[in-house]
């Protein structure tokens, strides 16, 4: 068995499990995770929706590093066993030979941390990047105190910095229940739960728990707006028929509608993707060995079990590639539940709610493909992002076009907060399926990078003097 060099992206439970197994099998493993993130990176709302107004205590990186490790004993085990564990490190790009790039050689991954940038050569890339918050827009969602459930869980359990005292929960999904259990364990008050449907999405056992904990659930409601001047002071709820409304006092609003897989890395690498209605997201096509359409690039969903890890290791050790498609098991339908939220939110909130926070674009400006207000220009005629083609295999609506023209998804969060709702909005507007939308593209770097951190890496004199470099093409090479 030849030793391979493996980079595992995302020290999630399944990522750690794989790293330990690969290490035990004799491979050289580097385990990378962007957490714990610096305050500056948390404020970019990537990957989780941390929201505005983060506590200054998040600057206390030493204390946070300790809390983080205490909460994740499997990381210490990884480190003890000789796995190169790189926390607070962003894998911002992965480069390999391909159609548009024929000179890379050994695959390389760009890793950046406080200490600078490195291009790490490797044989195998395993993406176990977990999930992030789905964040629907509503009036006032920019207020400090509004955040996503995954962010809330991270702040409560991994960072140990959470200042909310009276939390309103939006949604009764699995992640909503996880967040509520965590808040309860820390004796933080849950003032209520908002649910547009008539039953608890996470199921009857969760409903029973909510009852036993005496947590009030407002069925048949969505949020009309977050209320407050400089931070959340309350929330206005509205029944889904828009008929009646009530105000709830709170200092935190946790958006816990759904989680979505983090797929920016395989998407940007050019892995073949497909739209999963159940996961409400594009995900990479994978084989039963968890291998994507790119040889040597694997994708581990959170639900992956030991059988999959074994199949991956066999493949990594040299077993032939098995093209059998892996089909995800059935489970709760995130698309359906997301629809239950978006429909009444859009109807009751109206078209002038900000959809893209980074670029301050409203729902209407997005749908009408309006140019940004700061350009001070209008369109001669209204246009649509419908793709003009007879090819029935081609996508029908171009989200990337709307992104380029309106800038929705082009801000610092790179669409973490808006691209999914934007896609669902196009689905409703044009009456097409999610798979018919050409999704907004992804590019490296996957997170905004500080230029000084990568500027030190300069090209060699050989490249500078001898490569054809624009704009000196008039110089004879």
């Amino acid at each position: 068995m030849s030793q391979r060099t493996i980079v595992v992206v995302g020290a999630s439970r399944v990522g750690c499990r794989f790293a330990l197994a690969a290490n035990a099998a004799g491979h050289q493993v580097t385990l990378v995770d962007e957490h714990p993130q610096a305050l500056k990176d948390l404020s970019l709302d990537a990957p989780y929706f941390y929201g505005a107004g983060l506590p200054a205590a998040l600057n206390n990186t030493n204390a946070i590093a300790q809390t983080f490790l205490d909460a994740r004993p499997e990381l210490i085990e990884c480190s003890d066993r000789g796995i190169d564990v790189r926390l607070s490190t962003i894998l911002w790009g992965a480069f390999r030979n391909g159609e548009n790039s024929i000179h890379i050689g050994t695959p390389k991954a760009g890793l950046v941390s406080r200490d600078g940038n490195e291009l790490l050569e490797h044989d195998i890339l395993v993406v176990s990047s977990g999930v992030r918050d789905f964040v629907p827009s509503f009036l006032g969602w920019q207020l400090p105190g509004v955040f996503g459930a995954k962010a809330g869980l991270a702040l409560l359990e991994s960072y140990g910095v959470f200042e909310g005292e009276r939390v309103l929960i939006l949604g009764t999904s699995d992640v909503a229940l996880r967040l509520m259990r965590s808040l309860r364990s820390k004796q933080i008050a849950i003032v209520g739960v908002v649910e547009p449907g008539e039953t608890v999405e996470a199921g009857p056992q969760a409903a029973a728990w909510l009852e036993s904990e005496r947590i009030p659930v407002h069925f048949g409601n969505v949020i009309a707006s977050a209320i407050g001047k400089v931070a959340v002071e309350g929330a206005q709820l509205v029944t889904i028929d828009g008929a009646s409304s009530e105000k709830i006092a709170c200092d935190s609003i946790a958006v816990a509608v759904a989680t979505l897989p983090n797929v920016e890395l395989p998407a940007a690498m050019g892995c073949r993707m497909w739209f999963s209605e159940r996961l409400a997201s594009w995900v990479p096509e994978i084989s039963i060995q968890a291998e994507t359409s790119l040889d040597g690039v694997f994708y581990l969903a959170s639900s992956a079990d030991d059988a999959i890890v074994e199949a991956m290791l066999a493949r990594i050790s040299g077993v032939a590639r098995d093209e059998t498609r892996f089909s995800f098991q059935s489970g709760t339908d995130a698309s359906a539940y997301i629809g239950k939220w978006i429909e009444p939110l859009h109807r009751t909130g109206g078209p002038d709610v900000i959809l893209c926070q980074c670029e301050s674009v409203t729902r209407r400006e997005f749908c009408d493909i309006e140019p940004p207000r700061y350009l001070g220009k209008s369109m001669r005629a209204s246009q649509t992002p419908a793709i003009q083609t007879d090819d029935i295999e081609a996508p029908r609506v171009n989200q990337d076009l709307v992104k380029r023209m309106t800038r929705v998804g082009m801000g610092h969060c790179q669409g973490k907060r808006c691209r999914d709702e934007a896609a669902f909005t196009l689905v409703k507007r044009f009456g097409v399926g999610s798979a018919d939308i050409r999704p907004a593209s992804y590019r490296f770097p996957l997170r905004p990078l500080d230029l000084p951190l990568i500027a030190d890496d300069d090209e060699t004199d050989d490249i500078r003097l001898n490569w054809q470099m624009w704009p000196y093409e008039t110089r004879n090479a």
Binding site: R380, D390, M469, P471
Partner: protein
């Protein structure tokens, strides 16, 4: 029947501008692209109207281009972010300064206004410019635009006039009969026209080779980088240290350049 006066191959800015002008002149035009409109070089371009002087024979064309850009937003009806504040090509060391001085000799032979300036003058134009810039060529009438908006503005203006764009329709072959162009064969059948405008960048090479014509163009991949928005720093087209850097209306610094990486090419996947 699929009959047009003009078939344009390639929905990049060249193809779209060609199609727009032809349609304005009354021709029945269809633009074909293997993918989505303006999805390759045009939407990742540097975005400069440089008004270059390396090839003095081209300077009359450059001057017409400048006039067209000046009124383009109003003409097309959609914003391009056209910003006409000049171009600065800066030298970062003595060798580059000497090379630019040489180049400037040929620039002076054109009718375009150029001037050679020193580092101090550069920093008067762009206060945040590094001290390492020793001087360079200034082109006062050059300008830049948002390449994605400019390309799409042409596309929309073209279809507003009744022009037709077919995306995801790769052109596989130029059809000829008796030494004349007949049309093209696409993945979705033939389209006929007595004139075909090949605006498909390096794909033109592949389409012309069967006709015995050498089109000496090969594709390279450069790189682009965009920063988060910054406060206003400069409005000129800047070139230096191997990069083109412009500041967008939104405030991002948009950089293009780097060493060429040659790539392979095929038309239909």
């Amino acid at each position: 029947m699929q009959n047009y006066d003009l078939i344009v191959v390639g929905a990049g800015i060249l193809g779209l501008a060609t199609a727009y002008q032809a349609r304005k002149a009354g021709a029945k035009v269809v633009v074909l692209d293997k993918g989505a409109t303006a999805y390759e070089a045009s939407s990742r371009a540097t975005g400069y109207l440089s008004l270059r002087g390396e090839t003095p024979e081209e300077s009359p064309l450059a001057q017409v281009a400048e006039k067209l850009w000046d009124g383009l937003d109003e003409e097309l009806g959609y914003p391009t972010e056209w910003t006409q504040k000049g171009r600065i090509w800066a030298a970062m060391n003595e060798r580059e300064l000497a090379e630019l001085k040489d180049l400037y000799q040929s620039f002076e032979k054109t009718d375009i206004a150029f001037e050679f300036v020193d580092g101090k003058a550069l920093r008067e134009m762009i206060p945040s410019l590094s001290e390492r810039c020793l001087g360079g060529i200034h082109t006062p009438r050059a300008g830049h635009a948002n390449p994605q908006r400019a390309s799409q503005a042409f596309a929309w203006a073209f279809t507003d006039l009744g022009g037709e764009i077919r995306e995801y329709t790769p052109v596989l072959e130029v059809l000829t009969a008796d030494g004349r162009v007949k049309g093209v064969r696409t993945s979705r059948g033939e389209i006929h026209a007595p004139r075909v405008a090949l605006c498909a960048a390096a794909h033109n090479t592949l389409l012309l080779r069967p006709l015995g014509i050498l089109f000496p163009l090969a594709p390279v991949r450069l790189e682009a980088l965009v920063t988060t928005p910054m406060p206003p720093l400069f409005e000129q087209c800047f070139i230096g240290n191997g990069l083109a850097i412009r500041q967008t209306r939104r405030g991002n610094l948009h950089m293009n350049g780097g060493p060429y990486a040659w790539v392979d090419l095929n038309i239909a996947r």
